[in-house]
């Protein structure tokens, strides 16, 4: 709880400081707030979800919160250059991000469907605004519109599912729902359809097929800075919500929905990776790859006793953020893969970060991405072997995509122009690269 409070307060502070157009100060406030929140989460065992004792492997939300804070911190660092450009709204950026982080934190420590829903909204609504914050650009506006309508549509669906579930079990408390379902009413149409609607809502949040449509458009429309935040934190929050609700509350109906999940996994991975192949906008490419990764994340549901998603989401975030930062270096204004040609030669740090990030996404050991994937496959293989094998084939196609990007970036340009990176981005790149490299020691 108190990390939420800390974030909220620092957000408000940020707003006031932002009015004075003090960019650095508001940055410091935001970072300080996040760090404090993380520390609070670390030192207070209060964040102990009642569901945790059902499974031995969900890291207690404290770790997830710390991860969320850490990722947000990186995102802010990476985006600071862009934010500091319009001094008028510097405060708004940070406070919006912090507020939505509050929502994310509410989502990952599920207790009550009501809080769940509210957390979801608190997470989403600021992002609607952030996406549309580029006042001048039509694309940003369009992205905002699409995101807003699809998002509120999805939350309506989720809400409907919650209502049905309430109708079936007569409670919003997850534990009660779980115990009621355990009595066998899990097979009642209300419960099932309710769970399916809830699933739909969450699948929308992580953007897997068939609720992925907002992804590419919104990613492309949003600015790099915002993308860094929304492509990581939203996914983490969403997947944790799914793992908690489905892995725990609905685990009695596992045999029922696992087939559906497998279908979603296979569809999203193949669709995402194959479609990513023919993109010429980097942010769209990242969007499609994130669709595929959403599919991978869903593998965590395969084994309700041992769903270790933590490694994967962190690896995914630590690989995605540097890519977007590099994109920020490559295209200051527009967003085109052509500008990626030979980007690696502009700066050694970029080269290293790029190679590490892409191979990590492709899941090549000994990088973090591999271990994330490995832990997922490890738990999923005995349960749904065929899905896993299909997923591996799809990830081979994914390797195609990332390799294409890598070769594009490594192509030796005719004229080498050195390009310097601002300090904040350097820090972010270094941290993420290190994180991807030393993952070996955290398993």
């Amino acid at each position: 709880m108190d990390s939420i409070v800390i974030l909220f307060i620092s957000g408000l502070l940020g707003l006031f400081v932002g009015m004075r157009q003090q960019t650095l100060l508001s940055l410091i406030i935001a970072l300080g707030g996040i760090i404090l929140a993380a520390l609070a989460a670390f030192f207070r065992e209060a964040y102990h979800t009642p569901l945790a004792n059902y499974s031995n492997y969900i890291p207690t939300p404290a770790y997830v919160i710390i991860l969320l804070c850490f990722v947000t911190l990186l995102a802010i660092l990476g985006g600071y250059k862009r934010y500091s450009q319009d001094k008028d709204h510097i405060g708004d950026y940070f406070s919006l991000i912090l507020f939505s982080l509050c929502g994310a934190i509410m989502m990952v420590q599920p207790n009550d469907l009501m809080l769940f829903f509210i957390g979801l909204e608190i997470l989403s609504i600021p992002i609607y605004v952030l996406v549309g914050i580029e006042k001048g650009s039509a694309l940003s506006a369009e992205a905002a519109v699409k995101y807003f309508f699809t998002g509120s549509f999805a939350s309506a669906i989720l809400l409907f599912g919650i209502a049905l579930l309430y109708g079936a079990t007569g409670s919003f408390q997850l534990i009660e729902i779980q115990s009621n379902l355990a009595f066998g009413i899990w097979s009642s149409p209300l419960a099932i359809i309710g769970s399916l609607f809830i699933l739909a809502g969450f699948v929308f949040k992580i953007g897997a097929v068939p609720f992925h449509f907002w992804g590419p458009d919104v990613y492309q429309g949003a600015s790099n800075a915002v993308l860094m935040y929304m492509s990581t934190v939203v996914k983490i929050a969403g997947i944790y919500a799914i793992v908690n609700v489905f892995g725990q509350v609905f685990r009695d109906s596992y045999l029922f929905w696992i087939d559906l999940i497998s279908i979603i996994i296979v569809l999203s991975m193949f669709y995402g990776y194959i479609t990513a192949w023919k993109q010429n906008s980097f942010r769209r490419l990242i969007a499609y790859s994130s669709i595929a990764n959403a599919g991978l994340m869903l593998l965590a549901l395969a084994n309700t006793q041992n769903s270790n998603i933590f490694l994967f989401v962190s690896a995914y975030s630590f690989a995605t953020i540097p890519l977007i930062i590099i994109n920020n270096v490559a295209n200051s204004d527009d967003d085109d893969l052509k500008n990626w040609e030979g980007i690696a030669w502009k700066n050694p740090l970029i080269a290293i970060a790029l190679v590490v990030a892409l191979f990590s996404l492709a899941g090549i050991p000994p990088l973090a991405g591999f271990f994330g994937k490995f832990s997922l496959l490890w738990s999923a293989l005995p349960q749904i072997p065929y899905t896993v094998i299909l997923a591996l084939i799809a990830s081979l196609i994914g390797a195609f995509v990332y390799l294409k990007l890598l070769l594009l970036a490594l192509k030796k340009p005719s004229v080498q122009v050195k390009q310097s990176i601002p300090l904040d981005q350097i820090i972010a790149l270094l941290i993420t690269t290190m994180a991807s490299l030393v993952a070996l020691y955290f398993i």
Partner: protein, 640 residues
Amino acid sequence: MPLDLTLIIVLSLPLLGFAVNGIFGKMLSKKLVGSIATIAVFTSFILATTLFVRLDGTQIVKLFNIVDHDNFKINASFQIDALSVWMSLIITGIGSLIHLFSIGYMSNDEGYYKFFSYLNLFIFSMLILVLGSNYFVLFFGWEGVGLCSYLLISFHYNDKHKGVANSLAGRKAFIMNRIGDGGLLLGLFMLLGQFNSLEYLEIGQSLAANTHLGSGAMVFIALCLFIAATGKSAQIPLFTWLPDAMAGPTPVSALIHAATMVTAGIYLLVRSNFLFELAPSIKDLVLYIGLATTLLSAFIALRQNDIKKILAYSTVSQLGLMFVALGFGAYSVALFHVTTHAFFKALLFLGSGSVIHGMHEEQDIRKMGGLAKLMPITHFTFLIGTMAISGIPLFSGFFSKDEIMAQALHHNIWAYSILVVAVSLTAIYMFRLYFLTFHGNFRGGENLKSKVHESGLSMTLPLAILAILSVFGGILNLPGLFFKGSAHWFDNYLSQGTFGLEHIHNVHLDFNAAIQLMIFASTVALGILVWAYFVYFKKGNLAKSDLELSSWEKLSASKLYFDEAYNYLLVNPLIKLSDFTGKILDIKILRNGVYAIADGVLNTANLSRRWQSGFLSSYLFWMIFGLILFIAFYILKISI
């Protein structure tokens, strides 16, 4: 000096010569290089003679262990017995003579030191071949000599005109030998499987212990060994490399392709006589192959015009003769002919070498003639060689051939008649060669005639020695009807000292038969001599140009179209196969197949991106659609 040490020195001297000449040869003067090589070989010849003198029974000298397998051990060990010592005498003796000859012959060649180091290497591996006490060591020498022969045949690889041809000839020789080697390998595998050993003695003894050992396996082994022999000793079907091998320098032809290497096949068969005794069917095969080879190659030799090619085909024919003897199980006889053949064929080749040297690299006998006056010593020695090979009485060749004829007459009259034909053909083409080369008038043009000269001492001395040898070589194995006491000395020597041969007793014809046989043979030979004298000398009948050849002459001149047949049957199909696999199967099917799959998968992207239409309403529609799918899935699930 202890026996094994002697042996080691015998072996290591040529190797040493090879090393010295190979490394420092560039800096040393030509004379020095040549003498180093020659002395090395000659010394080992001396030591070999000491071995020969002190020879008693069979002795094994084990150097070190190569492979220590569960079932068997393979040692680098050597065997000193009558056979191996005799062979090493031939090799080192003839070898040193030819080295001496080469000093003069190669005197104006820039690859001088290379040549001599190769020669020494050859001597070394040949000694390994004959002295080894098991098939493994034999195989080392076997491939070693093949390697050296490749190096020496393609020695003039960067010759202006014939460079490519020379290297191709070398390649052909190596590949054809490789086919034989493959056979030998298979035989070795089968031997190992059967006996868990490759030692001659062990195999022989275990065979002697129980003769009922799987005869099928014996047949297989014998067949494989025989294939190897055909490869090395240029028998049908693997003989076409030997005529091409004449691309090498003439001393090489004399040493490798007449005296020593090509007889390795005969050595192998003699060495593994106990195996062939158990596989009579293969012995018959040997006989037939030998007959066919000796007849056909003699026929081909009739109308060749390259002095060395004629000698090459005669070598093939003589080797066929030896295989006939082997086919009759007359091993010592075959080896006797190996010996005499080594004498006179080396003589002939060196003679031709001296001719070519004098003629400034001219090899076509149609351009020669009347050389008798220009190079008398060469002429005289060459005449002796010719007489020896064509079996003029009391020359060495007479006796050795006569032995084989005797075997044939005793076993199989048809074989005998074929041999008669072959032998007379031999006489014919040899005398044709002799007369066309040395008599009549010079046909090479005046300016060449002025340059023709007799060769130096270093070349004529070996000729003289070899001439003496090929005159008196017959003494080694006189037939019974002359001096009773020392008769069949070589037979006894060999069959006492060589494992397996003591059981095999060569038939010796009774007095009358032998007399008739000899008289018949000598009349034939002399008759041909007279005939040839009239045809080629008196009438001055010249070799026609290729155009006005009659049909059988064409057949002979074009080598019975063996090369063409091989190209048509083996080479072209292989090339076609290679092109097919390389261009069609590998690239078109396998490689592009992979590409096609990848493209097929990735190009669906064009389809899948259309789904993202950009219209919000369609997105909402698809979301609802997804929901409906979920519910449909549920209904499906409960309905099942």
